[in-house]
């Protein structure tokens, strides 16, 4: 073997070990039977995995995160699909301004968005934390929704809508009959991308927490500062497998990676 033919496998091995290794260690650690987080794990048990489901705050924050990821992404799509449609089909006066405004939340660090929302929406308008979180996550996902949906609309000819209208369909009917079926993959991909982004998001939600109201990742950070047992590892593994599973299925059925 020459130096060059060794270079490829060794580089790949090291890089993948660095990227994936820690995740595997977390998975192994979550099956530990010991009391503290350690690797190699002390014995094998499912006790920490089981414990995850019994921690009350995890259950509540998981519910909250799930609600935000689904609700926030759905709301972002409800706002984002019409906006994408206007941007890709019409010559909109100020199109660039609209595009910049809706995609700005992606550029500004989440922690600033969260703080700004806390100080200038939540406090002055007496908005509930849950609603504030919902607004924040919607704004956060909106740029992804607009980007992905716009891309699929740009790839679809606009004259099929005109053809549908000339065949007797209303404008709205044409949208649902010939546009939606052709951008469905893009919308689903936007949903999955938005879901994963929202679910894993921390900084936006940091300041937006109140008694009993927290997102799961923020809750996990709080928990790991106090308790040093493998239950956070167990929860991390479960969540990781959940998102990998979702993305894997999306890739299989939608060709997800085309859209993101």
């Amino acid at each position: 073997m020459t130096a060059r033919s060794l270079f490829i496998p060794i580089t790949l091995l090291l890089v993948i070990a660095f990227l994936i290794g820690p995740f595997l260690i977390i998975v192994a650690a979550s099956f530990s039977a010991g009391e503290t987080l350690a690797f190699p794990p002390q014995g094998f048990s499912l006790r920490w995995i089981a414990k995850v489901f019994t921690v009350e705050s995890f259950r509540a924050s998981f519910g909250m995160s799930l609600f935000l990821a689904i609700g926030g992404t759905a709301a972002a799509l409800v706002l984002g699909i019409p906006a994408s449609y206007a941007l890709s089909r019409y010559k909109l006066p100020g199109a660039e301004i609209v595009r910049t405004i809706v995609s700005a939340p992606i550029i500004v660090p989440g922690i600033i968005v969260g703080l700004a929302l806390l100080r200038y929406i939540v406090v002055p308008f007496q908005v509930g934390i849950t609603l504030a979180l919902f607004l924040a996550h919607t704004a956060l996902v909106l740029p992804y929704a607009v980007r992905v949906v716009s891309a699929s609309l740009d790839n679809l000819r606009s004259d099929i809508e005109e053809a549908a209208v000339l065949l007797g369909s209303s404008r709205l009917g044409a949208f649902f009959r010939v546009v939606m079926p052709n951008i469905r993959g893009g919308i689903m991909s936007a949903f999955i991308l938005g879901f994963v982004t929202s679910f894993n998001q921390v900084p936006v939600s940091l300041f937006l927490s109140g008694p009993g109201v927290r997102t799961l990742p923020v809750d996990m950070i709080a928990y790991m500062e106090i308790v040093f047992d493998p239950s956070v590892a167990a929860l991390s593994s479960l969540l990781a497998f959940l998102s990998i599973g979702i993305v894997f299925i999306a890739e299989r059925f939608l060709g997800f990676s085309r859209y993101v």
Partner: protein, 280 residues
């Protein structure tokens, strides 16, 4: 059929108004806080105060330094990895790329948490070092710049690798063999051929990694602890511990300016390159 402007506005405005109300306006007010004098009027004294504090200076420089180091390291490793990946068979290439992308799907909290297991006092690294007799007592690796560096690198390396893979794939197939035939050694091939041809990908990846590191919260929070702060964790402390909203606004402004500067730089370099190409 798509000429009606009122129609277009009706479709686009809800999203724009929402983003403006929930995001743009509050953020702009927040950013203006740092320029407001307590007595009314405008001032930059909050900024001079901020930068005259040595702790803040340290945090600012550390943030810049770590972000730059992570960017450089990810570029070096990224080139090696991207080279190795594009030289694979198509089938294997897809699978390995999948493995590289996989971590992006995993919650950053989970990914960062793993390093506690690895770098902690009883973690794998310390166990190995002690078993090999390199050190007597466990080293303190966690809650250090090193830990943050490793965590950020692991978090953002995939973005760099992906950018470089697509840049390398878009490179003319015969560029490297041609340079080799002309007698260039591997170093020259990289410096004179590969780097100029993949500069755009490098710049895109570099901006993602740099702004990502600059504005990362989870990694410095978990791996840096409350002593080794970066700008984001400092911002959090200013709010949560000191209730100092003016300082928070100053840090927010600095973070945004730095991210925007990096983004603008990206566009500059990318377009400068396009000009060169169209002239050629």
């Amino acid at each position: 059929m798509f000429q009606n402007r009122a129609e277009a506005l009706a479709l686009a405005l809800p999203a724009a108004i929402f983003a403006a109300a929930v995001f743009l306006v509050p953020v702009v007010i927040l950013l203006s806080d740092g320029f407001r004098a307590p007595t009314g009027g405008w001032t930059i004294s909050a900024y001079t105060d901020f930068f005259s504090n040595s702790l803040n200076q340290t945090v600012f420089l550390r943030t810049l330094r770590l972000s730059a180091l992570v960017t450089v390291a990810s570029a070096v490793i990224g080139y090696a990895a991207a080279f190795a990946i594009v030289s694979l068979e198509p089938g294997a290439k897809g699978k390995v790329t999948g493995l590289v992308v996989l971590p992006l799907m995993i919650s950053p909290v989970a990914r960062t948490y793993a390093w506690i297991v690895i770098l902690g006092r009883t973690g794998i690294v310390n166990q190995a070092f002690q078993a090999l007799g390199i050190t007597e007592a466990p080293l303190r690796i966690l809650f250090s710049e090193t830990a943050i560096f490793i965590g950020l690198l692991q978090l953002f390396l995939p973005l760099m690798i992906i950018s470089l893979i697509s840049a390398l794939e878009n490179m003319p197939k015969d560029a490297i063999p041609a340079a080799r035939v002309l007698g260039a050694n591997w170093f020259q091939v990289f410096w004179k051929v590969v780097l100029p041809l993949t500069k755009e990908g490098l710049v895109i990846g570099g901006t993602l990694v740099f702004t990502g590191s600059l504005t990362a919260y989870i990694t410095p929070a978990i791996l840096g602890g409350s002593k080794v702060l970066m700008l984001e964790t400092l911002l959090y402390q200013q709010v949560a511990v000191s209730n100092n909203f003016v300082a928070a606004s100053v840090i927010a402004f600095i973070l945004i300016v730095m991210s925007f500067a990096a983004n603008i730089l990206l566009k500059r370099v990318a377009t400068a390159r396009n000009k060169q190409r169209s002239q050629a």
